[in-house]
Symmetry: C2
């Protein structure tokens, strides 16, 4: 069965080879003001600088690479709030494969424009009333399209996990090792991928997640021992992390490996975005700033430690960005 | 005489050794949307991510390293619009040396705050009516302070030139060589440093400068064969590049090596800043965006070439940044 193979560290390493050259080796950045604020050494994996402005291209590229030429010829379908959509559209274009993207109709305008710029064909849905998975599955079946799932697929998980493999190698090159690694968590694909590779190459690193208020059901699910569901009617600035429940495949991996979870509010994320602009000189979108917010707000008390974190995406509408900077800058 | 030694490629290499570990090896970044816009391969040396938010720390650190312990004990003085000020204050703090900074009273508030955060002692002057060099020289003489000039000193030039040494090595590591290298140019310290090292290690690279409208006297001076003076009463968003005339030491180096100059307006720079936020996910200040603006506006027609450029600083007031993003985003 497709996706039934378990994610492994070797799978992440194979994915890294597969996406090599196509994906950007994003820098691991350090900033003294952030270190001072955290009382720690903070190393930022800046996936904002990845193709498509987020880590999503890694998983999408790996997934597309694993399809047969015949599958690619027929095309792929992805459901996504906008970042995975860009990753899939870009990867599909590299292979000359048509990409159909199911996106919420309230996705940020910038994300919609970028998916189109990469040649993706968009089908909109209402994320408050419609089931995106059902819509996606129906279109995929009808048009014989292969699925490129945003998180709940082993190819996606292993591809997304390559960022932690890179980050550990980059940290080693400067003589550092992560005591903790904090991941922005939506459906848990990146977290599961990072968990898989970190357990193998950096077993002393404590894996942690940051989630937006209202969509912090992953850490709650881990504590409850079962997959809880967030109320999708809630609003959050972190559109990239507004998935209602941990994935079927990702959840058991997260249960095994995630040691702590932090919930960050829209205001905390906004303040963190302004800090990132002023001091880090990096543009980050709300969902991409969740892990940084956990450090910036000192919800994670990591004094004296070496902390890795994902700055997972930077696709923010300029108008929202200007508003946040005006309010918190 | 101090500063009389000529800048050399070996001097830049020695400076690179001297600042190693203290300065950040900033990434050389590439972005597909910028490449597409330029019809070229554009490699961005992101000095926005340097300590103090600009390349200035490189020259300041080199200068401080070259002073005697006794000179450092007495302290250093720098005249600066704000970026060099941060570089000097930070370098001085590393050596436990007091730093006196002469800054225009209309310098961006963020720069003033950051100089203070690094422990610099600020003396303000009026850049429309007072001569900053004279003020600086008087205070330095009175207090027996060593000068850390913003551009017109061999230690500064060689320190600032380390960014081009790094950039060429980083480009080589990805199999690239610069056909052109475009530098944001104020007094010409970074340009002279880049010229010195590029002539040695990458002689086929054409060195070019970008200057703000009204303060584009460097390229005009090169064409005229003598140092012209800009009218300092003019306004520009590019405070970091508003030096009125090329340096005495930098000018002959620039005359020998600079092949082209581009003038960019406030509006062009603003549009470039918004592009950098949306597509590059990088925060850049007006003066730091001049070289990128020369490419973004296609004033430099570099189709098919590999273009290196400096993104030289990111210290922009959040309110101005929000205004620019609101207007051009």
């Amino acid at each position: 069965m497709e996706g039934a193979r378990a994610a492994t560290a070797d799978g992440v390493r194979a994915a890294a080879q597969r996406i090599k050259g196509a994906a950007i080796v994003t820098p691991l950045l350090e900033n003294e003001w952030l270190n001072e604020r955290a009382g720690a050494r903070v190393l930022i994996k800046a996936e904002t600088l990845q193709h498509g402005g987020s880590f999503k291209f890694r998983g999408a590229m790996n997934r597309l690479s694993m399809l047969s030429p015949e599958e690619r010829r027929r095309g792929v379908l992805a459901v996504s709030s906008g970042n995975h959509a860009q990753g899939v559209a870009r990867a599909a274009r590299l292979f000359g494969a048509p990409a159909t993207i199911v996106m919420p109709k309230d996705a940020p305008a910038f994300k919609v424009a970028q998916v189109r710029a990469y040649g993706g064909d968009i089908v909109f849905y209402d994320r408050y009333t419609e089931d995106r998975e059902a819509i996606g599955a129906a279109i995929a079946a009808e048009r014989s399209l292969a699925l490129a799932p945003p998180f709940d697929h082993v190819d996606t998980i292993e591809g997304q996990g390559t960022l932690a493999l890179e980050a550990v190698e980059q940290a080693r090159a400067i003589g550092a090792a992560f005591d903790a690694f904090i991941v922005c968590c939506g459906g848990g694909g990146m977290t599961a991928g990072c968990a898989t590779i970190l357990a193998d190459i950096s077993p002393n690193t404590e894996l942690m997640i940051a989630e937006p208020a209202g969509f912090d059901e992953t850490w709650a699910s881990i504590r409850a021992g079962r997959r809880l569901k967030a109320d999708v009617a809630q609003k959050t600035l972190c559109d990239a992390l507004a998935s209602p429940t941990p994935g079927e495949i990702t959840f058991p991996i997260l249960q095994r490996h995630v040691r702590a979870g932090f919930t960050v509010t829209d205001d905390e994320v906004s303040e963190t975005i302004a800090f990132a602009a002023k001091y880090l000189k990096l543009v980050v979108e709300p969902g991409g700033a969740a892990a940084l917010a956990a450090v910036y707000t000192r919800k994670f008390k990591g004094e004296g430690k070496t902390i890795g974190l994902t700055l997972s995406g930077g696709n923010i509408d300029p108008s929202l960005y200007a508003t946040i900077l005006g309010r918190f800058g």
